[in-house]
């Protein structure tokens, strides 16, 4: 009981912006609006919102590894792809009966995490850090993309699942919950929306607790000064590896949800553009804060999509401009800058009242 209480107290702390009744009141309000929203919208729009939500997990993975941990990883899309393809291969082979799609979701995320254990072990225990970590992870991502792109021939299949080269894999079953009478199929509208929203809230709160715990302390300590952290007795490579694996699992979750959302996955989801976009969302939002990352990602994605209507070249230019502006005006992130500013105003108001 006290343990549970201590855990909830970790929802707030020095590693996460937002505290106090004002913040959590707003949080509850936003959550209530998100829960009610499908009742006032149509299936297509709700499905589109799910698409936005799906990307937040990979953004959070980058926030964790890069923003908190200080290691810039270009490899998140690799885990995204591995888990996406993993889900496709598993469900195309074994179908969706008996809740197997849910098993496949967990298994696909686990495969991505396992891959991260191998890659991470090689990198962190081989003392690859800084720029080199970025280079190695990017190389792995692009290699995977190249590899998947050349699997067009019929000889490339795992069981009954054709890999299909650049065209990608499609027609995997959507998530299906076994139910007496009729199983509930979560198509990319209201059904999937509530599942993804639930996962999002859970992951967000869990990461808040994790980052404000003693584990989170060590992670930011390693970002600030790895030598000092080790000289306080922390096996920093172990902590970096665990963070990397958690990040990979989150990126993998994004990949699986993306795959069930559109019922397809292609090698370009692991390409250069795909690897760069999450970096922009996270940098613009505020890489060292979970809330800023979530808000930043959703806002940038929505703006990007709105601009794409006028042509995707404008949207890409907009992203570039946004990144430059961020670096110039608020290097720690635009959303985080605004949140800190609001926080200062709130303190001043409460001080005046008190």
């Amino acid at each position: 009981m006290t343990g549970l209480l201590a855990m909830f107290r970790r929802l707030e702390g020095p590693q996460t912006a937002g505290r106090g009744p004002a913040f959590w009141g707003l949080f509850a309000l936003v959550l209530a609006a998100a829960l009610a929203y499908p009742q006032f919208s149509d299936g297509y729009t709700v499905g589109n919102t799910v698409y936005f939500f799906v990307w937040v997990f990979i953004a959070l993975s980058l926030c964790l590894i890069w923003g908190y941990g200080g290691s810039l990883s270009f490899g998140q899309t690799a885990f995204f792809g591995i888990a996406g393809y993993g889900y496709g291969i598993l469900t195309i082979n074994f179908g969706s009966a008996y809740g197997f799609t849910l098993v496949a979701l967990v298994a696909a995320v686990a495969i991505a995490a396992l891959f991260a254990v191998l890659l991470g072990y090689f990198m962190f225990f081989g003392r690859i850090a800084g720029v080199f970590l970025g280079i190695v992870t990017l190389a792995v991502t692009l290699m995977l993309e190249r590899f998947m792109a050349q699997t067009a021939g019929p000889e490339w299949h795992i069981g009954t699942a054709r890999l299909n080269g650049f065209n990608g894999m499609s027609a995997m079953p959507p998530l299906t919950i076994p139910w007496p009478g009729e199983p509930i199929v979560l198509f990319a509208d209201v059904g999937l929306y509530y599942l993804v929203l639930g996962l999002l809230v859970f992951v967000y709160l869990a990461l808040r607790i994790l980052m404000n715990s003693s584990f989170g302390n060590v992670i930011v300590a390693i970002r600030e000064n790895p030598e000092r952290a080790e000289m306080l007795g922390y096996d920093i490579r172990k902590y970096q590896l665990i963070t990397f694996v958690i990040g990979a699992a989150l990126a993998g979750l994004s990949g699986v949800l993306y795959t069930v959302w559109g019922q397809y996955i292609t090698p370009s989801s692991m390409g250069m553009t795909a690897a760069a976009l999450p970096l922009i969302w996270v940098a613009v939002g505020g890489r060292s804060d979970l809330t800023s990352t979530v808000i930043g990602t959703l806002v940038v994605l929505a703006a990007f999509q709105a601009l794409t209507i006028y042509g995707s070249q404008y949207a890409l230019v907009f992203m570039g401009v946004l990144l430059v502006l961020t670096v110039l005006i608020a290097p720690n992130g635009l959303v985080l800058g605004v949140m800190n500013w609001l926080g200062r105003i709130a303190t001043r108001l409460t001080q005046r009242a008190g």
Binding site: S214, V220, N225, E227, R228, L232, G233, Y234
Partner: protein, 238 residues
Amino acid sequence: MSLLELRKLNKHFGGLHVTNSVDLTLHAGEIHCLIGPNGAGKSTLFRLILGEHHPGSGDIVFAGENITALKSFARIHRGLSVKFQVPGVFKGLSVRQNLEIALQSRHRGRELEAEIGRLLAFLGLESEQAQIAGNLSHGQKQWLEIGMAVSLKPRLLLLDEPTAGMSPEETHMTGEMVQRLNADGMTVLAIEHDMAFVRQVAHRVTVLHLGQVFAQGSIDEIVADERVAAIYLGQAHA
């Protein structure tokens, strides 16, 4: 009884022989100062003891155990702790969080809060606890890092130029702090250029020159040694 024994430690950086067959024994309970000209290899010797560098040959024995092959963090678990030459605090985090990170593996919950409070008082940093460590003065950063190193309750505390950039009063206070820790049973190995500090605290002094142990003895013996004056103290006092 010896707490730390360095046996014929050799370290090369390319063609540079930074530590040349260094033999050094620290007795449990002593305050030992390591002095010598710039570039003598003092900080490198610390990094060898801590496992950040690995010696080309030679052994490091701590409390009877050969730790030459141990990883750094494991050496810390055995009872070593260090304050680096360049202050190594967590610059972007608050003073309080710096101390919390140092203390959290030994204390939890209310006990942790109490320990942080005690350490803040010990360091005289209570009113700075919410500040970002990067904004502290140089001397305060030094103290914060000493505090973090001390909080591990090490058997051997390594201090690399603990008083650099401090005023004479601050230097004296740091000396008293070191003596207090030593009275509680901590063995201390300190690299220092400030001879007033060395005179204040050292039980024994070792002079390192060109990577070799050049002289060893009490502070009076060292100061009286003309060879030491020629290579080091002469210039320091000039």
